[in-house]
């Protein structure tokens, strides 16, 4: 396992909401303007901190969805039941609001176009891969990045339209998509995506990640070629 030598995380900066878009019941897309911007790599995440009048703070980690060349930093946040930060962002946040933000974090789950890669994501696990896809489009490296995004329904899967337009395999498990009957991705669907790849990225819940690693193993991706980012709670 190798890693970049320079892995310094910038200090906290102020982030102002330039755009706030609520998508369905559970998702909110934030586009943030940073007072002190920083350079990041597709796949990295950041920490968002909310501060109450009395100084109480709460902070959570979120993957970055934007291309590093985007002047705004984009997050797609899933509202979790009782979520202290995600609940506020979904219910309360509006344009002009100020947050504190720190990043970039993580030098492992990153892709810079240097290797042929496949991404297998579940739900909001697609967010860091959207950053990779946008970067790939800008630098002309889309032939080196293949994506399978798994979601329950089209409205629940973040960036579903953008993913479909980019040629990603979108596997919906709870509704049909065109001629594709609702189902998790089949090995036969994954085989063309994994052919010739040197690395695989898996991002999703703990349950999804374990499923995805098994599926990749079934279609011949060695375990040491798989980089995993997982989130969520277990009981």
């Amino acid at each position: 396992m190798s890693a970049p030598a320079d892995a310094t995380v910038a200090p906290w900066t102020t982030a102002r909401a330039a755009e706030v878009e609520r998508i369905g019941d559970r998702l909110v897309r934030l586009r943030l303007e940073l007072e002190e911007s920083f350079t990041y790599t597709p796949g990295q995440h950041c920490v968002l901190r909310l501060r109450a009048e009395d100084g109480y703070t709460a902070q959570r980690s979120y993957s970055i969805a934007s291309d590093p060349a985007d002047p705004l930093l984009e997050l797609m946040v899933e509202c979790l039941p009782g979520g202290e930060v995600s609940g506020h962002l979904h219910d309360e946040a509006r344009v002009g609001d100020a947050f504190e933000l720190r990043g970039p974090i993580g030098g492992w789950f990153t892709w810079t176009g240097d290797v042929r890669a496949v991404c297998l994501t579940g739900g909001t696990g697609v967010v860091p891969v959207v950053s990779m896809l946008r970067y790939a489009r800008r630098v002309g490296a889309t032939d080196r990045l293949r994506v399978c995004a798994v979601g329950r329904t089209r409205p629940e899967l973040p960036y579903a339209d953008e993913l479909l337009a980019s040629g990603a395999l979108v596997a919906l498990t709870r509704e049909n998509l065109g001629e594709r009957v609702a189902a998790p991705p089949y090995p036969s669907e994954m085989e063309p995506l994994v052919a010739g790849v040197e690395r695989a990225y898996v991002c999703g819940s703990v349950g999804f990640a374990s499923y995805a690693v098994r599926l990749l193993g079934e279609v011949g991706v060695p375990a040491d070629a798989i980089r995993v980012e997982q989130f969520g709670a277990t009981g």
Binding site: R51, R60, E100, Q230, T234
Partner: protein, 203 residues
């Protein structure tokens, strides 16, 4: 520091003195965060090796490690992603027991903890001696689940939890500090939650 309009905060901690700065109480949840595919390690195949700057490099099997005097940790754990879990109980063996047999040399000042997955994390030797670190194979009286590092993980609860390497396989004693996996990827070399040493460059 900017105030976020309309934010009051829901989960005001009941025991704020137990939470290091920037942490929240995750309650009964136990989130997981790993960088690699979760390995499938049978206890019969698991071994732990202590080597590097020691007088007697040694490898213990599952059965041999369980024959050492057992030890329990009861207390809190803190993850750099900002959750803390209070009043956890882990069972296993103190790292002191292994080091008493392997005997670090006078030059040994750091430990690089290795996992069978290739993950590694670095710690000052002083942070894993004197009853501060364990090899844990039980959580809450039951076998440690694989997603939490079972069959055996390192447990260094006074530091951020990425230092508590899952699927531990080797403790390598070194004279000089050598950054491990997350440390090369931006995380702090020591990781004291009470000093908020989260990332490289933090105090």
């Amino acid at each position: 520091m900017p105030v976020t309009r309309g934010f009051t905060g829901k989960r005001r901690p009941e025991r704020p003195e137990r939470l290091p700065p920037g942490q929240y109480d995750t309650g009964t949840d136990w989130p997981t965060l790993t960088a690699e595919a979760t390995p499938d390690i049978a206890p019969d195949e698991w071994t732990i090796t202590v080597d590097g700057l020691v007088e007697r490099p040694h490898t213990w099997t599952w059965r041999q490690a369980h024959a050492l005097p057992g030890s329990t940790y009861f207390g809190d754990i803190h993850c750099v992603t900002s959750w803390s879990k209070l009043d956890t109980t882990f069972g296993g063996v103190s790292v002191d027991e292994l080091l008493a047999i392997a005997r670090p040399t006078a030059d040994a000042a750091y430990v690089l903890a290795h996992s069978s997955t290739g993950y590694s994390t670095n710690l000052p030797l002083a942070d894993v001696t004197g009853g501060k670190a364990w090899l844990a194979w039980e959580y809450d009286g039951r076998p440690l689940p694989v997603e939490h590092g079972g069959p055996v993980r390192l447990l260094v609860p006074h530091l951020y939890f990425w230092k508590s390497a899952k699927w531990i396989s080797r403790l390598e004693l070194l004279a000089e500090d050598q950054p491990g996996f997350w440390e090369q990827n931006g995380y702090h070399d020591r990781g004291d939650p009470w000093l908020e040493q989260r990332y490289q460059g933090d105090p």
